[in-house]
Amino acid sequence: MRLLIERPGLFTTVQDLGRRGYQMYGVPVAGAMDGTALRLGNILLGNERDSLSLESSAPEPAGLEITVLGPSIRVMEGAGCFVVTGAKAGVTKNCVPLPCWTVHRLDAGDVVVFHAPSDSGSRSYFCVSGGIDAPVVMGSRATYTRGRFGGHEGRALKAGDVLVTGAPGALWAECEGFSCPLRLRPLRDPDAPLRVIPGPQDDLFTEDGLAAFYSSEYVITNSADRMGFRLEGAVITHRESADIISDAICLGSVQVPGHGQPIVMLADRQTTGGYAKIATVCAVDAENLAQRLPGGRVRFEKITVGAAVDLLRSNESLLEEARRLRATWRSRPSSSAGREKLDVRVNEEEGC
């Protein structure tokens, strides 16, 4: 398919799971902030990694990461399917409201419009059969806007951009109507504490600093983007200095600069930094945080590495179950579509 971006939305970028293994060159990972939502989208569509390339190291098919306000997309030519995952968004196709998490067909001339911003999260994923094709840069199609590379010309989408989708799997049309069961959709409870693994520099903080971090509530400030979320709350005090000799920053690293307010590093984080890191948010909960909005609240809860790996494993088994359901599912007319109550606030000015 060829897709015309009629309106780009607030900040819409092409993302896959990012470029892993290039961090020794100072290259950020980037990729979807809620990678599980993107992967589920691909599973629902039957997008196998291999459908874009025969290489076993082929990247996850890319989708569009939509931030709060979504785009308007016209199918210029071709046919395929799409699904919206992640934060629940008000979506219409040719002015008809459609449920998220359900696969819908797209034909030439169709217009998909994202309406009112989601109130259940901040990032939705628009996934299509075959994935969004874009040049693979260092093993990934992920957009890294600060470095101006990856994705569509290294930037967020603009009105008038034309995107091309990759070759879909042979059975792409059979996905239509397939809906992700509620129990397999990631829970992004905005009140759930974020589970963290202590370290690597927790020994640089005072007892009081550690107690403040683990027992008080922090608020997400307006400085919350793909690079990281700055939080505000009880001051976390250091034993001496907040500065360390620069070392690696990981997904979920909680840096605490001299002012004592934590910053949680996310997808577009730089690879190294010079602030002491009190803990690391586990991978599963970094995706939960990525769905929260400024003003949202954050608490931290200590867990072990083993527990974090268990969380990752159960996340993986949900994906595996979705994959199994999808593989045994055959398109039935009006099967699951429309069962859900749709709450789409259609804006008249937007053409519907």
Binding site: M24, M138, R146, G147, F149, S253, G273, T280, V305
Partner: protein
Amino acid sequence: MNASSKEVPRILCAGESCVVVEFGDSIGFEINARVRALRKKIESRPFKGFIGTVPTYRSLAVCFDPLRSISANQLERLLSDISADLVTEDGTDEELLIIPTCYEGALAPDLERVAAHAGLSAGEVARRHAARDYYCYMLGFVPGYPYLGGMDTSLETPRLKEPRERIPAGSVAIGGKQTGIYPIDSPGGWNLIGTTPLRVFDPDRTPPIFLNAGMWARFVPVGRAEFDRLTREVAKPDWKPDIRKKERVSGEEPSHESDREAASR
């Protein structure tokens, strides 16, 4: 070869998919040589689930997929065993990247400022800057940015009060006690003393960098005409940078505490 058996390295946990081996809490050539040796050892014989490393001044982060690799405990044991009897190189296989640099006119907008601050002529600043080889401790901050050690202290210059919004890729700069090269267009407050035609970072190239952690860099002054010629040359697909064997002069190991300044970037 000499076995360096100094401090016992600390193995730190940085989440469920990264372990950091920290060789100490200082910046220096010796400690970085151990980082380099560990990196080489792991990358040459990667364990199951290994994704990549992030070498820094005094530590090596080892990233892996916890669902496909050995357990965290096994990995920690493995890393601590490897790190304990690490053999650092004797320096005979080190590489040196030649970085042609034009220290003139519009390509060196802050050269006079640095010269005035140092009480030297512009030409002398360029001469001193190009007179030493710099050791690349690590890459970071932005893609391909080299943390270089070993600048002549007479060239130290404070950063600009008003940072520029856009510094072109290839700019050679001095900020405080550090010197570096802007690998991509980015905002910044360092003093621009020259420009290299080399594309030190190119996302479409494999690997995307020329100057890797553990290599040396030598700035070689070129005139404007040569700069323009090289700019055309480096754009050709079969162009290769000048990378030589580094002949280390005794006492050349950079060891300056001032690199800490870079840590807060």
